[in-house]
Symmetry: D2
Subunit: 339 residues, 4 copies
């Protein structure tokens, strides 16, 4: 911790603050600067009592308190310099091979799901996405088929060999969802629902952690730390757009998160251009940007008939568009040194 004092502090005030710092278990180190005194407090910020309240207790003396240590540990590349991969059935995410997860926003029917699964597999996807439990802004919107949807996903896996990813919405469903799925998705609205993160982590299944709508990178990494601290090291981050003032798109896809997560963490980073833009017409360009910037996988919403989708039709692409898109992305994936 660095404690910056106000200008013109008396000797007595200085002594008082030094005493308090020592009392909290830190060793103070005084630097007398040009206009003010700065104190370095040496001690582990993660285990000692915080010094952040010094400003509240000594408002006449302390200007500001600045932490030095990063708050995330297990998730950080500092702690684990090599990149980690996550095994999902026979696939390795975060390795040399680039993966595409694709499927409908919501599982609606056997026909819809199987048709989509076969089409996305034929186009080159390896993982099938589909929502069985849907977090909807309004209670009057379609909330998903629930366990029936999970059963359909399992059926589609059996029919096509695709692995499965689906969202977990409730702690109460954690073991049930884990029984069916290969990857548990934690959605943006639940990115800081720590009880859900813990419940998901405890299933041992790979976790795809979407970024919250206004989540700072540090908070996202710390939410990932919840997964690791609960003894699950199969973690993937997924950028899906942040909330800004722009109204042209539903969210603003923050592709700079890709190199930042790669730099700060050792876990794979996935990009969801469908949620990220909320507009099917921008998905193509977003996919290209994500690949070029180093993403490990894409998560794309695909529907046999977006016009009749029960949720988020505006951001889903048709089976034909998806097949074309996959063709178009291939050279770029190769040019980025991936397979």
């Amino acid at each position: 911790m660095i404690i910056v004092l106000k200008p013109n502090i008396s000797k007595k005030q200085e002594v008082a603050i030094l005493k308090e710092i020592r009392k909290r278990g830190y060793k103070p180190h005084v630097m007398r600067g040009v206009s003010r005194i700065v104190i370095g407090a040496i001690g582990d910020e993660l285990t000692h009592q915080s010094l952040e309240t010094l400003g509240t207790v000594f408002p006449q003396i302390v200007e500001s308190v600045m932490p030095i240590q990063k708050r995330y540990k297990l998730v950080s590349r500092e702690a684990h310099p090599q990149s980690s991969t996550v095994k999902v059935r026979e696939h390795l995410l975060g390795g040399k091979k680039f993966h595409v997860m694709a499927g409908p926003c919501s599982v609606e029917s056997e026909k819809q799901l199987l048709q989509t699964a076969e089409a996305v597999k034929a186009a080159g996807a390896t993982i099938l996405r589909g929502g069985a439990f849907k977090p909807r802004t309004s209670p009057y919107e379609f909330q998903g088929l629930g366990e029936k949807g999970l059963k359909l996903l399992a059926k589609a896996r059996k029919a096509t060999g695709l692995a499965i990813i689906t969202e977990l919405l409730s702690e109460a469903h954690a073991s049930m969802v884990a029984d069916y799925t290969d990857i548990i998705q934690i959605g943006a609205r639940n990115a800081q629902n720590f009880q859900l993160l813990i419940a998901a982590a405890k299933t041992g299944k790979p976790i795809l952690l979407k970024r919250g709508l206004s989540m700072k990178i540090e908070e996202w990494l710390l939410a990932g730390e919840y997964v690791l601290a609960n003894e699950n090291c199969n973690l993937m981050f997924c950028e899906r757009g942040i909330r800004t003032f722009e109204t042209y798109t539903r969210n603003t896809l923050d592709l700079s998160a890709v190199p930042i997560i790669k730099k700060e963490s050792h876990f794979p980073i996935v990009v969801d251009p469908s949620q990220g833009a909320g507009r099917a017409d921008l998905v193509r360009a977003m996919c290209k940007g994500a690949i070029a910037m180093g993403a490990d996988a894409l998560l794309i919403e695909v529907h046999p008939n977006p016009a009749e989708a029960w949720s988020d039709g505006t951001q889903q692409v048709s089976l034909e568009v998806f097949a074309e898109l996959m063709q178009e992305l291939r050279p770029l994936i190769l040019a980025s040194g991936r397979e």
Copy 2:
């Protein structure tokens, strides 16, 4: 729904889009404008299939689709022009009397809680706040005393007669928390954790719904709609700051939410200046602004010794400061026509 077509649409394209609108159960109404055709689609947007996907299905024809109806119903003042009050033990929130909820960020010990409870009661507060389950950004931070904290809150209620508010973090704890508390608080990070909202609503207890960090007013009202749709009409909204680019304060308290909630909804609005600023030195001014703008109650973090608080010490005020603050707010409350 209003469907705006692109300029220079052919007769054939117009016919196609009209057919689709009728197919989805709406009655189209064509307006030929100066530069383009606009279609009004008449039908209940809350029950019919959405037309929002028209832009995806007919990208060559449709420029944009705009909804007309408000998505919230039960929560809206349109549906219920009189203001609603919420009964919490012998108190009525949202009525003529202005209420102050005060207490520590976290319940830490019997001594800390009782001392605070007595002091805030003496200063004029009617409701005691205290966190037993704490949502913390990092898994390494203090997570609350759990049920032990709830028991201490109940003890403090017995000792002082104050009503109690505490946060619910997990669906699994809903009935336990409801057994102890008078108001269930849903925190900002869980404001769109719909499963938690439903579990909380079903206990029948009054719900204080904090605004999410980047929640639009409409989304907040819709989250409240989840409470009402689950047959609990004891709802209060609580503004606690939104996330912006500013770094001087932890959040930006959006006091304009007070008159907007009053205008759009019939439920009480509470303001939390402690979370809203994240700085004890700004709490005073924030309280005054909230009262002047028409808030029904305040939620203030108070601690006997903020310097040693186990969480969020920088934003808690001391017992002495709280007592002074209450004195200072009194004339303003009266000047605002409250008691």
Copy 3:
């Protein structure tokens, strides 16, 4: 400056960085912490070469560089603990008396302006606002009457005795605008147009500096520093709403800026609730909040017939509404210890 090194730095790397810090004129002060070394670099950050590039030059060694000193000086309360007042004709802004500046968004005609001026004076305003040069998002919108508008403002001053405030848009107009007006307004879009700030400052006239749409408090204070550094100490800050994700209002009025500016600076703070909300129906509550939180003055858009205003009709209040509003604010102004 505080320089945080990466963990596990070699002795040789440490020597290299210390040498560089000395070379730039700072005295390094080494603190060996639990997990890493932190260096305090003692020297005046405002006059020495910055150390911020150390991270770029020594990416293997340096984790981060943190400035300690505040970048603003003349504008800061630290430099000038007493509050400053600004003299505008016979009025003193920032003193005991609360002021209201009111008038139309745009000056449209002699009749419109004089009618408004007389009405706002009768209601208690002391300063007349009116735009002669209008910054408009689109080139096809009304751009103001220009010098003709200035002449009408001068006429209204003569007729009513009200002081005048109007916006300066172009360096080229600085001396002309200064010839007519009593206060020069710098609009939100030009808040970091430093050439305009310098030109305005050099006229010697009082400057009302609106906050930019996404301006941090520190940047706003530094923009004010441009005025002071050009030898004009008649400065007022004006909060007028920031840009957030919310779409219900045009901007989000950030009333917390009032106590923050009061704390960090010695100059008066004015609040513009008309721009701040962009909705006439919220102006009333915004005014009350601003007064309660300690603002020195209000800037309110008033028009004899908002429906026919040539610009921003939705946020202007009518003469009748303004008169009522002033009545309603009076007790609150008194309760806040103002006149």
Copy 4:
């Protein structure tokens, strides 16, 4: 315009609103929906008096007013379906060839500039950037060499054949800057300084218009419209990051702006990854993303010795890093169908 009425409007109220719409020159078109009446007002929104004030004038009757027409015309792809190119000396921007503009943040000395110019030319850049007039947040920071810097840029052009881009800060300098430069840059802070845009446009030189820190796409296009409306059709847009809540980077580069500008406008789009991230270590990934998403050019800050740069050293890359980067980008440029 679409005017949405409140529910339960009386016949008399309906007649009043229809009368007002006709009075303002629009032809009303009434649609009776399920819960309310919606009126389409037919007429040119760009030339008629706006109807947006109807909500203010008839607050009991009108719920909301929604514009239909896009506010930008000349800049829009709707008006000009083919992509436009901009000629800069012998180069064509926005065509098949991909361009790189590179050079120091600030022009500091002849040696620094010429060394950089030769290096970036050798690496493949075609346009030299360099700031002679610098907009600085603080008045105490280096403000640029002024005309001396312009002369050095001209010298570097003569020596290397590179075209030149430099920022215009003041209307008063427009003709002087135009005398030296090949492209006039309008910086983010001046993106809505309309007087400066007009002065720049009138020089006839190509204009590179950076996006403002919190500028919506629509506002950016309208700022471009100011250039076109002043008879200069040599316009380029430049994305350089927007302001969000994230603190890891200085700004959040919004690469989705690339496909959106391509879709909405016919003018070239340039990406500035140096300002966009404010961190040299992220420039590489940002460049790749920009190319893959369809940008027409890059604007990169390069300095022979970033550690000693007089401004923004943390975001400038060295000559060696730039040369490597250009090598690395080549295959991606080809894979994107550019030269």
